[in-house]
Point group: D2
Chain length 410, copies 4
């Protein structure tokens, strides 16, 4: 079930090398369930990944990545995600990976030198500052409360961010702030590149969540009179919401890719287990109720893989439509990977909920994905609205309206 097909030879070659690297090198270095990857181990593994030519597969070659096009990320990211530390080791983990993608698309050359290059090379980490304490920006980005006001030669940012994954130890943060119409640029949101050692930046309270594999925590970050230069503006002022979509569509899809890799891992663990257990006199994998769990996981894996492929192709050809479809992929894949890992636990019985196997930690690892990057309920709401609107437009432009029931006299 693991063979993609129709990949260009060089992509398939990279996939195979990532696969070998993860299985031969990374898995052995995994921390025990509940622990985090030590910084020095990560550094050693990253060096090995560079040596193996598998580092930053999605990033531009000129900055040190492997230059994969987005429509080919999925098979490679799935291989990386087969280990929960694989994406971090290969430097294709959130939030850095999404930041790299956005910087590549909208940063100036100077910004790329200063921020993208060290990020791609793993010399720096970054974070993305959008979410705010209630009632600020969350599932609804438009509720943004953080502000930036123009001052001579620059801007001053004030506000509080929350759930800023990776903030501890990050070199910089891409901050969303509300900006006024100033004649030059429209009112809206603007993105700023803010160094984390800026004296106006302060890490606040920590939010301890159930996941373990994103470095740098999920703390509050405070911006108090945080002064930045004009050069800190990423893309055009006032266009932040539009850029956010540029970042968020692919970013949520790469989560799907990585976690699907982990779901495949969980299934392999369960299949190995089912192979060696007997119950009521039969091997577990021959029992129908186990087979039902296995089959449902395979179906989840294949449909998740297929909808990721479809979305990635669409993101490459029509980013706006691709971003809309990424809502569908996000809901389906985040639900599917949770179910898959949950079934793997069930197949492993008591060991499945112990730290003798990593499955219970995997379940905690993927649980938040149904919430972050837009909760599944928010996405479903958006999906329904888009479907209603698209159909309304189709009818307005001539499709026959089919909503009338015909009643007969007899």
């Amino acid at each position: 079930m693991n063979q993609p097909y129709g990949l260009p030879a060089e992509v398939e070659d990279l996939r195979q090398r990532v696969r070998a690297f993860v299985r031969d090198v990374v898995i052995d270095a995994e921390p025990v369930p509940g622990d985090r990857l030590a910084a020095e181990t990560r550094a050693e593994l990253q060096a090995a990944a560079k040596a193996a030519g598998v580092f930053a597969p999605h990033a531009p070659r000129e900055y040190g990545g492997q230059g994969l096009a987005i429509e080919h990320w999925s098979p490679v990211f799935q291989e990386a995600g087969y280990s929960p530390i694989g994406p971090s080791v290969l430097n294709c983990m959130a939030p850095d990976e999404g930041n790299m993608h956005m910087l590549e698309l909208i940063a100036t050359d100077e910004q790329k030198s200063r921020y993208l290059e060290p990020l791609v090379q793993g010399r720096e980490r970054s974070c993305f500052g959008m979410t705010e304490p209630h009632p600020g920006a969350g599932s609804d980005p438009e509720a943004l409360l953080t502000t930036a006001r123009r001052v001579p030669g620059g801007w001053v940012i004030d506000g509080e961010k929350r759930f800023i994954s990776g903030a501890v130890g990050a070199a910089f943060c891409i901050v969303m702030a509300r900006t006024e119409d100033d004649g030059e640029s429209p009112a809206g949101a603007t993105m700023f590149l803010v160094d984390m050692d800026n004296p106006g930046v302060r890490i606040g309270r920590h939010i301890h969540t159930v996941d373990r594999y994103i470095d740098g925590g999920h703390p509050h970050v405070h911006f108090d009179g945080c002064r930045v230069d004009d050069a800190a503006v990423l893309g055009g002022a006032g266009l932040g919401f539009r850029y956010a979509q540029v970042r968020l569509g692919p970013a949520r899809l790469t989560h799907c890719m990585r976690w699907l890799g982990l779901a495949r891992r969980a299934t392999d663990i369960a299949l190995d287990r089912a192979q060696t257990r007997e119950i009521f006199g039969s091997p577990l994998h021959e029992l129908g109720l186990a087979q039902n769990l296995i089959a449902e996981s395979v179906i989840d894996i294949e449909t998740a893989d297929a909808v990721i492929t479809k979305t990635a192709l669409l993101l490459a050809s029509d980013p706006r439509a691709g971003s809309a479809l990424s809502s569908v992929a996000k809901v389906h894949c985040s639900d599917a990977v949770f179910r898959i890992i949950d079934r793997a636990i069930q197949l492993c019985g008591g060991d499945g909920v112990s730290d003798g196997l990593p499955l219970a930690q995997y379940l905690n690892e993927v649980r938040p994905f149904r919430i972050y990057d837009g909760s599944n309920e928010t996405h479903k709401w958006a999906i329904a609205r888009r479907a209603s609107s698209a159909r309304r437009k189709a009818v307005a432009s001539g499709e026959p309206f089919q909503g009338v029931a015909v009643e007969r006299i007899d």
Copy 2:
């Protein structure tokens, strides 16, 4: 949500023409719910389809089809299936479509002239004789009881078939029968092309099922001392089970394609309805519980579409792997289309279960698909066994075994 992408221009052109033909011509001719398409109406519509250049889209051009490659069938078949009579009008309905595909792949030139050509051109209909009364061939084809024994210059077939869709009015039947090892060919199953007016063929009892859109019923067919020539053997003697896989993989996938088209239709009906209904003071389509139904249907549509695309590509490049994946597609799509139509009914309230809308008939139409072409339970059993076997082989060939729980001393 309905736009495919990345299709070659001529495929997209055909898709558009099919779409226009179905919406402009076919829908108006649909029988009321519960009725069947009259033979003369079908003949007129088929003539119009030929004139519009949309007839038999999947069949070879040399015999009168449009010559689409299998990896491009899905968008076109979905457009055809948007009307429940669309596939019949376009001559891409089961069982003829599957028979055409198999004849194209394994028939002799002479057999193609005699059987494939009139079939493609809609001058004849056909059926496929595999299923038998219990305990014969069903979900388990190997339980085949019908036999064929060699006689000088030909064969004599004896046995009873059941659920032979399309048999009434068919010109010929492709019959699976058990054959002995005769020195020339191995023991196994052999396929025969049998004319339905052969005196050894008799239509038996009818099975009245809830669907309406496959012509020719689902009767028993009896073969009593049915004498055929050597030229009636389709492909090689003894290779019938292998050919059955050639037929069944694509055939179950084309069901997915057609019924997904109908699921889109049901969703459009429901969206139109939700647009014009108010309840508790709000338009129905803005109510969250309706939005939940709509979103889940969109997710089902997109994942079904994606896994069909993936399977069709694989069938084109690696028929054996594609046939295995078609089990996944079959289970997912047959469940999904049932859920989608069921949700559409729910969105339409009382009218949804009346014949004022066609939805209740649609539900009856797709219900059997979870059973025929291998019940979903049989496919899940096969999917689980393949997954276990593939993993066992991977471990045997060096993948690390991961099924051991590590216990610690503390």
Copy 3:
């Protein structure tokens, strides 16, 4: 799985007699799938039911029923519902049964003599006129458009009703109409007992639905200047919405009871089938994927039975709370019986979707129950609102508010 427990001896005795009567007498008289029960057959069977002392089990003894208390209806109604025509034969079918219950509770003695007695004795049928064409009363009863205005000595009713189950052949209709505040009674809805041969009553268009076992269709009924006496008012003027709750709570619960009986029947059919089929060399009932279907149906049956029991007890002791809980029972049971019958079909394969077994008709029979008596989405909306409101009140009255996340400094 069929044994209730803790029933008073006379209730258990009645249950056993109903069970025997249905299995020994009623089942043999069932029409073939898709057909309806002939009027004369029903009359004969009703006579037999009276002779067997099982007629109108829920109705007062003084009018000819068996006088069961509502908390004991469930085991008896489930036995009746084991045959799809059982409730009609035993005169405990909708809408008559719900009308009897409401008349018993709020009619005057005179009204009881005139309407309840012949209804209980099966000499008349009745209907309930609440639902209206969009945008009138439906899932939201308050949208009521039909009006009744006072005239000397009586009232004049004007309006159109729709989906009036049982109207054809009914002797009378209980009609909900909007009435003004007239000094004596508050503005609101009022219920009227209207003879169907009143010249102001006219049966309109028919709505053909997928069910077969409610006599008298689901037509439109028109009230055009329909003049009734003061004695036609059922209960107090202006209190109709309150009475509607009195009727609707128990009425939707008795649907649960009857259909659960049918779900048990479907499961028995499937179990019998699974007993005698072999596939891949094993009896079907020993195959795990079949066992999964069977187990899930048993779980659905038992939980449906349990929540019905709970709700019936609550309706007996606290009708308002019982009516609220009946929303939960309605959603769970209507979903459960649909799933149960659907699984039975799946277990029976091709025969399951044919009319050789009654299962496909059963599925059509119960499909509308997820829509009528308030669609499941409407009930879920109400359930959620009640839960939110109850919790809000609990917090207001001193329960600690628990919705604040505690963040720590480390």
Copy 4:
């Protein structure tokens, strides 16, 4: 939604006192998520519970409990379980509670004095030694490998147990061991009361699982030449499997009760949260997709409560049938509480997966319940087999066989 009904006054009084004690005293003492209850805190809280007259509600009064009959445990245990430490504080937590129940039913008076009394009074803890390392006793108790052989005046037990919840710090263990037919008693399993300080008992490796609220871990326990007196036999020799059922049916049902209490807690947290959050301009609790989650949780709560009530009544009147039904209750409730807590997390967004709220820990707490006390798959297998067997017997004793499809000639 939380009010039971029809409870005897003294039971309702106890329920109210437990409710008040848990909400006023216990909740404030809860450890932060991920931590365990400190031993001294538990001791203080237990003293307070005794003072409040709510201690050991299910245990006999003569030994210090409140003497509740099993059919009334559910409302009281649900109140206890509203706090995850409530059952431990009230001394009605597994495994002690199940051991108390079994000792009450089958221990000698002397054994009750020595083991039951200190257990009820909270002076000692206990464990239950059934599960063994693979391929020993697990979901299939009959795979028992631990043996006991008769020696003069007693027995010698040898074997290894695993997942022995509560073993660390327990005063005694009830051990299942295989025993031979010795003329006096049949071959089978025998239960022994073994003091944990017996020199033949040794705690082995620990299994670290995701739950936190069962004291005493889940270690291996080794019995190496463990010598016990004849008085250590619990009940009759050779009858252990029968006694295991006596223990396991009620024990799995009390898990359902306690965890359902925790599921109610999670729902209250989520409802409070939904009350105070706004998103897209509306309070969260008014948004349809949130309402859908809330309604589904209410339905799960009510059906779980109802099937527990039904099972408890049946256990009281017919323990064998009750034990069979407890499989249904176990599967439904363990699935339901997991879904309920999972939905509560979803409603609380990011905070739901943080330790700012206890929900993520609750999810880890109940996840194992789908596995222990017999995995849900094992129970479903047993449920299906019982259903098939019961139906087979019904048909054998005269019920009409309904598995034949009728085919017609037309």
